[in-house]
């Protein structure tokens, strides 16, 4: 029995490509499945569901101002999650907010990844003075007060979704850089890079073909982390009034608008807060899951 067990186990390992092994791990990883599921639900609610709802997030009805959610005294099933200070339906505003948050989260993380990974590979691969220059840039970046800088830039350039994405991305690449640089340094000393040099591959070919594909796993993990961070940054910027501009519904903006009514209508803050919490939670759980799945040493039962 044991021998049969052993043989089949061995055969499985041999016949599976690395990606098949990962897929198999992914299917059994609870945190990953939960995170991914929650994220898909939020994405569906944000991007698809509003298409079927005829209510506009901008339509004001001053006779219906500051209604609480339907299940609280004074609420009405006409507005499930109540209305805001201008009598706009809160449910549809939160759903539209998911769009903004996810777009900015993904977009900003992409911008950050582009900057960080490129610099990291270059620094790790060439070493020497190139590495020192990149390190200097990194130190400068770390010394700057991020949020303050973002506020200044957005204030000067003028706020729009694109500007917010670029600014947040341009301020969140340090983690990508540190990880990519360290991994590149390690990979650079491996024999397959030397072998590539020996067959006459150019430096660019080595960086894109030998180094980059082997950074993939680490980058994915950092990427999911940064998506969460970027979403929170957007919320902070919008809360402070230099991010997304009203009347566009962003979660940070909803919280900012709701803060005046904090003591007699706390739902205006609690509801977008919950939405923000769930989105960042789902992304972080997925990120942790991906880290476990892509780690060849890990063994999830």
């Amino acid at each position: 029995m044991n021998i049969i067990n052993k043989l089949t186990a061995k055969k499985d390992l041999r016949d599976m490509t690395p990606s098949e092994v990962m897929l198999r791990k992914a299917r059994t990883h609870k945190g990953f499945k939960f995170g991914l599921g929650l994220l898909l639900v939020i994405a569906f609610l944000g991007f698809i569901a509003p298409l079927f709802i005829s209510v506009s997030p901008f339509e004001q009805d001053l006779s219906m101002r500051l209604l609480p959610p339907a299940w609280v005294d004074g609420g009405t099933w006409q507005h499930w999650l109540g209305t805001d200070g201008n009598g706009r339906d809160y449910l549809i505003r939160i759903l539209y907010g998911a769009r903004i948050s996810m777009t900015i989260g993904l977009g900003a993380a992409c911008v950050g990844m582009l900057i960080g990974v490129t610099l990291g590979i270059i620094a790790g691969f060439f070493g020497g003075w190139v590495d020192q220059v990149v390190n200097y840039i990194l130190t400068c970046q770390l010394a700057l007060p991020g949020l303050l800088l973002a506020m200044t830039i957005v204030f000067l350039v003028g706020p729009s979704i694109l500007v917010v994405i670029v600014v947040i991305g341009a301020l969140h690449w340090t983690l990508f850089l540190v990880v990519a640089r360290a991994a590149t340094k390690r990979i650079r000393s491996l024999d397959y890079v030397t072998a590539a040099q020996a067959i006459g591959a150019s430096k660019f070919q080595i960086m894109t073909r030998d180094v980059l594909p082997n950074l993939k796993n680490q980058i994915i993990v950092i990427f999911t982390l940064e998506v969460g961070v970027a979403i929170l940054s957007e919320a902070s910027l919008s809360f402070l009034g230099v991010g997304i501009q009203p009347p566009t519904p962003s979660w940070g903006l909803l919280i900012a608008e709701g803060k005046d009514a904090l003591f007699y209508q706390p739902w205006l803050i609690i509801l977008p807060g919950i939405a923000l919490f769930l989105l960042v939670l789902s992304i972080n759980m997925m990120g942790d899951g991906i880290r476990d799945i892509t780690d060849p040493e890990s063994n999830i039962e």
Partner: protein
């Protein structure tokens, strides 16, 4: 005493994996009396280390003992709970030494502190008593200037000295049983000899029982009266060492011995080589400088002292030496991967630094030691092998796959391998892929840096045969860098022996290996263990 010190019955160790339970050893039996030595031999993955780790309770996280019993001095070790085991057995009565002394010692504490730690903690000994005993033990392991060493840190010592410290540490509590897991594998051959001798002496002096684990039959046959041969988790043969080696009964043992003998026998079939030098090295010199910090001076290390030699078309030249002798630096210089400080390397008539990377690649190709790091894990075998053709554009794109498959076949791999990833291949198969990648451009010169030292004995021979065959078929010149005399004897026509960056002896392989002239070369040859011979059955 009639009762044996250690009696292991039917031990099985299993791993919990993602794919179910994986048994790594089964039916392992061992009986050891006080003062006896037993050797366990097997290739990597044979389960030899796992069975010992099980006894020392050092199994990695997912592994566990799935059946069997371990009786040590009358008590069942598996019945003890963890804290009892640590208090009574581990380090005190059973001590273990490992392969890599460098990683087993803590770099931030002095040798003295590491040696005395257990004694201070467990025996409530005074610092003075513990120090006295530590110095005694350092003297027992023949460490020069023992008292002075107590204040030193691990990095201030050589690998051999670190291993001596590890042994001294194992002996601090006068254990009844010493387990040595590949104690000499990470050391240079001349140091290996000293450590093995030391272990034999100490065992007699302290009357310990000893279990020595090794992949090297030579080491085991030198040290132990009894031997256990393991293969893929099974014990295939046990008995008196002399008997097992002279009349092996299991086919695996026979095969292993034949491989060894074949490697040793292959001396001196010098090929006729032409006098045309394909490669000449003129007075090359290389110095590495280690940059100092703000308050430290930078140091320089002369890796290669001025050296000149020529390599002739069709021959196999071996460069032999211990680690740090400069042999790998020379290989890298010839390969154009690092530049020289002085002198030049001529490929035919052209200096290597004047050639473009691509031109050089078509003439000279390397094969590396570790097939686990020489293949890019994220690319398929097909891509890895055909990549040189894509880069060089020497043949039409449509023919590239065909050529790659042909080359794979030349190194003994079927077309099934084309779409696989390196992680799905064994070490030997990976090395074949690395060879295929090197020969696909049909280079004139192949530089093999320790081509087999990361592989098991039975696979070593296959790879060496393959290299010989390919050399003949493709009419290549080979430069082999190695510390393994068996490999050198098997492949080489000419041998250079390097020591401290200089070539100290050179000549025909048969002459240099059998009748070395310089003292260092003699020492090097003397430290190679050969397995006692018997008629092959």
């Amino acid at each position: 005493m009639t009762e044996p010190l250690l009696k292991i019955c039917n031990l099985a160790v299993s791993f919990k994996t993602h794919y179910g339970q994986l048994e790594v050893t089964r039916g392992f039996n061992l009986t050891l009396n006080k003062g006896e030595t037993v050797g366990i031999v097997g290739e990597s993955g044979s389960g030899k280390t796992m069975s010992m780790l099980a006894m020392a309770r050092l199994l990695p996280g997912q592994a566990y003992v799935s059946s069997g019993s371990i009786q040590f001095a009358g008590a069942d070790l598996l019945d003890l709970n963890t804290s009892e085991f640590h208090q009574q057995i581990s380090g005190k009565r059973i001590a273990m030494i490992f392969q890599e002394p460098m990683t087993a010692l803590n770099p931030v504490y002095t040798i003295g502190r590491q040696l005395t730690e257990t004694m201070l903690l467990h025996e409530n000994a005074s610092q003075a008593a513990a120090n006295k005993r530590a110095i005694e033990m350092l003297e027992a392991v023949k460490m020069p200037q023992a008292a002075l060493r107590m204040e030193q840190y691990p990095h201030q010592m050589s690998g051999g000295q670190q291993q001596r410290v590890m042994i001294a540490m194992a002996l601090m509590n006068k254990p009844d049983l010493l387990i040595a897991d590949e104690p000499t594998t990470a050391l240079d051959v001349t140091v290996q000899d000293e450590i093995i001798q030391l272990l034999v002496d100490l065992q007699i002096r302290f009357g310990m029982a000893m279990i020595i684990i090794s992949h090297d039959l030579g080491v085991v046959s030198r040290v132990s009266e009894n031997i256990i041969v393991m293969c893929k988790g099974d014990t295939v043969e046990t008995g008196k060492t002399a008997k097992v080696l002279t009349s092996p009964t299991h086919s695996y043992t026979k095969g292993l011995l034949e491989c060894l003998w074949k490697l040793e026998d292959a001396h001196g079939i010098a090929k006729q080589s032409s006098t045309a030098a394909v490669l000449s090295v003129n007075n090359i010199e290389k110095t590495y400088s280690i940059s100092g910090g703000l308050f430290r001076k930078s140091r320089t290390i002369q890796a290669v002292k001025p050296t000149s030699f020529s390599v002739f078309s069709g021959e196999t030249l071996a460069i032999v030496g211990e680690s740090g002798s400069g042999k790998s630096t020379i290989a890298k210089i010839i390969n154009g991967l690092i530049s020289t400080d002085q002198g030049q390397v001529l490929l035919g008539e052209t200096p290597i630094e004047n050639m473009s990377d691509k031109d050089r690649a078509r003439v000279i190709q390397p094969i590396f030691q570790d097939p686990y790091s020489s293949l890019n894990p994220s690319q398929t075998i097909g891509y890895i092998v055909s990549r040189p053709l894509h880069i060089h554009n020497t043949i039409a794109a449509s023919k590239i796959k065909k050529k790659a498959l042909e080359t794979l076949e030349k190194v003994g791999l079927s077309s099934d391998f084309y779409h696989r990833f390196p992680s799905q291949l064994s070490g030997g198969q990976r090395q074949r892929v690395a060879i295929a990648r090197a020969i696909i451009l049909e280079p004139k010169i192949l530089i093999c840096d320790e081509p087999t030292s990361a592989l098991d004995v039975s696979i070593q021979e296959q790879i060496l045969d393959l290299l010989c065959q390919l050399q003949k078929d493709l009419n290549m010149t080979m430069i082999v860098i190695s510390h393994d005399m068996a490999v050198v004897g098997y492949l080489a026509d000419r041998v250079f022996i390097m020591h401290n960056g200089e070539i100290i002896e050179s000549g025909e392989a048969s002459k240099v290996l059998k009748h070395p002239e310089t003292d260092y070369a003699k020492k090097l040859m003397a430290s190679v263990y050969s397995v006692p011979r018997a008629k092959i059955l």
